[in-house]
Symmetry: C2
Subunit: 421 residues, 2 copies
């Protein structure tokens, strides 16, 4: 018998029929003898409706009241799933964040979890009840409802799994796992059986939308084993699989040690929401970087990749950096404001770029991965605009027109293509 | 400076524009220097939507989960009204039932209030904040959300007014007060400036829908002064009226002693949702009434009016009684099941009847009111099928076809018609 946490997002609970389908998934795990805690999001679209009402009420919302309004969506789903479970003969009760209690700080609207006191819920689980938990919410020290920010239900699920000492936290979503890359671009992309926390973290922060970065971080630090699975599978045909043994359902996100056969490169991610800023003919003098990036940091604009080239005359330099696309206009303004100091000849902004990243813990022990990558791209005639690396990933910036070609070529190069059946 | 409770129902908070209008009403009272607590219902239609979702989930709902789902409607409105108030510069915060706390018993779905601990809310009111309270809900001893039953927000408002020691509880609704009778039937009906608790209780239980019977009972026992006012008035044109002085806005429901010029008859109510059962040729013997009404009581069917006539032969009797219309079929079944014991010749059910009631505390000290009433009806050719009386009301049962004629005639007879202007 295991204790498992199952999390279902908004599309999985979009209407009563979908909620009944979720109840069948939960019933399967409960019938297999597991203790089951379920974390649910609001019904798809409901959170947006509530946010819209708040925005109609005022332009400067008190975050405490925002939380009171918006948290109601998860409250409704928790009650409805409990009723559907009871209707199928599964004993269950709903838990609001303040009932557990799941305690947070007072940063309403984007609160961080400070503590979870699981005693009452554990007693209820011991009595055989499924615990159906309203995700995304907790209670702040002021006694008010707090929310964890958009996508916070993943974080709720992982934190609750840690507090309960769960054997596994199943994240049910609208895809059936984590893939080597986006299957819409590379039809030969494969679902990964296992991926390490570190790799998943890079995948998530580099554009793979399947899990919230924050929830993966929390799973890594709390050592919670995560599985990404599809809620759209037919519950009746899914066997009660104990994910502790080898399984072919979904992707397990776990510590590196659990992964026996480690690939050098596990996956390829891409991010299109980057924009490029280039300062042409900048005076090449000490401290010039600080003069560029200091004001950007003050304006709360995150700079991602930076590349600096000495120009032909030797006295000036060209500097290129990337920011998130929504920040581009503001970044250009900030730099323009400092024109007198920086003395650049030209300032350019562009959004027709894409960041491609190869990710794998195997890179730590394998030299030559970067060289292989650059050679492949060169042979395909793809120009690299910027490079950034970490211990387990290499990211490059290229012209957006070459996105599909680059992803497909690298996917083949690093042996990730699925065999034809 | 007074402490007032204002209550707004679902149609008054149906959308953001209506909620902003409510905020203007609240702002007016707050600006006049009053401490203000506001009780709100769910946005019109939302509670029905939530109940519908519950019914789709299961046919046998766990009332605790029903409460978790359905109470979310008031939670949303409380946050939205708070935001609208803040947007207009009025300091405010929302209060859920469990935050106050408003404690109830564990009769989920129809809970009764056991205690309200107003200390935190009074502190917040003293600091100048408007308290915006989610109506209809509280917290049960099991730590779960409880609801007070449909229309429970009126009861919330009166109970909170009692707990806070409020000077007045304003019930804002879609009519501008309590009328001498239904103005749709009698265009000359007048709005009452004042009405006693006892009369309002009779009016409410006899078909006038403006206030919940339960909330009037509570107001009477807790001595809370109630006012019925319209939320559709233009807030800007309504002066900050202290209802403790004479006022021409709305109807004040108060103790009899506050009403100086007491009418003999204050109002005329009618109820069409009654049905009539007649047992013809029943054996006229001691204990026959117990044999009829015992089984009905066991079946949880409420009997309202009863009339028994000795028939021509002297040995048998005809008995007629009324039940709520939805109970008619079940009442007929129950009586039929006991046919052997009761030995009636015929059993008849009918719904084409109406109950007309004249109500007034002045009847206590005036003889002849019933005689005047019966004479008037007789002159109009209206046959009285049954009569029941209390100290302050006389109810009669008549053929439904005569409803308008009877109400209009009695309205004139007892001097309730508005003067022509």
């Amino acid at each position: 018998m295991a204790l498992i946490v199952m999390k279902f997002g908004g599309t999985s609970v979009a209407d009563i029929d979908r909620i009944k389908n979720v109840a069948d998934h939960v019933k399967r795990e409960h019938a297999a003898g597991n203790k089951v805690a379920v974390v649910v999001s609001a019904m798809a679209g409901r959170t947006n409706e509530l946010v819209d009402l708040v925005n109609q009420a005022t332009r400067m919302a008190d975050e405490r009241e925002y939380d009171a309004v918006v948290s109601s969506g998860e409250q409704v789903t928790s009650g409805l799933l409990t009723l559907c479970l009871q209707d199928k003969g599964v004993p269950a009760r709903s838990w609001q964040g303040w009932q557990i209690p799941l305690q947070t700080d007072e940063a309403h609207g984007k609160a961080r979890i400070s503590d979870i006191i699981p005693d009452d819920m554990l007693t209820s689980l011991d009595e055989g009840n499924v615990a159906v938990i309203a995700g995304f919410q907790g209670i702040a020290p002021n006694g008010r409802i707090s929310t964890l920010g958009r996508g916070g239900s993943d974080t709720s699920a992982v934190a609750i799994a840690a507090a309960l000492g769960a054997d596994l936290c199943d994240i049910y979503t609208d895809v059936d796992g984590v893939y080597t890359t986006d299957p819409r671009i590379v039809p030969k992309a494969q679902r990964l059986d296992k991926i390490s926390y570190e790799e998943m973290l890079e995948m998530a922060s580099l554009g793979a939308k399947v899990l919230q970065t924050r929830s993966v971080e929390l799973a890594m630090t709390q050592n919670v084993r995560l599985a990404v699975r599809s809620s759209f599978d037919d519950p009746a045909s899914v066997e009660a699989v104990n994910m502790q043994t080898n399984s072919h359902i979904g992707t397990l996100v776990c510590s590196e040690e659990e992964i026996v056969e480690q690939q050098i490169v596990s996956g390829i991610a891409y991010a299109k929401d980057e924009a490029k800023v280039t300062l042409v003919g900048l005076a090449d003098q000490p401290g010039i970087a600080a003069k560029v990036f200091g004001p950007l940091a003050e304006a709360n604009i995150n700079v991602d990749m930076i590349v600096q080239n000495v120009s032909a005359d030797g006295a000036t330099t060209d500097m290129t950096f990337t920011v998130a696309e929504p920040d581009l206009d503001r970044a250009l303004e900030v730099v323009q404001e400092h024109e007198d100091e920086l003395k650049f000849k030209d300032l350019q902004g562009a959004t027709n770029i894409v960041k491609i990243s190869i990710i794998g813990v195997g890179m730590r022990s394998h030299a030559g991965v970067a060289a292989d990558m650059f050679k492949e791209l060169s042979e395909k005639g793809i120009n690299i605009l910027a490079i950034s690396t970490s211990e387990i990933k290499i990211s490059i910036l290229i012209d957006a027109a070459y996105q599909e070609l680059a992803v497909r070529s690298l996917h083949s190069l690093f042996g990730l293509d699925q065999d034809d059946h």
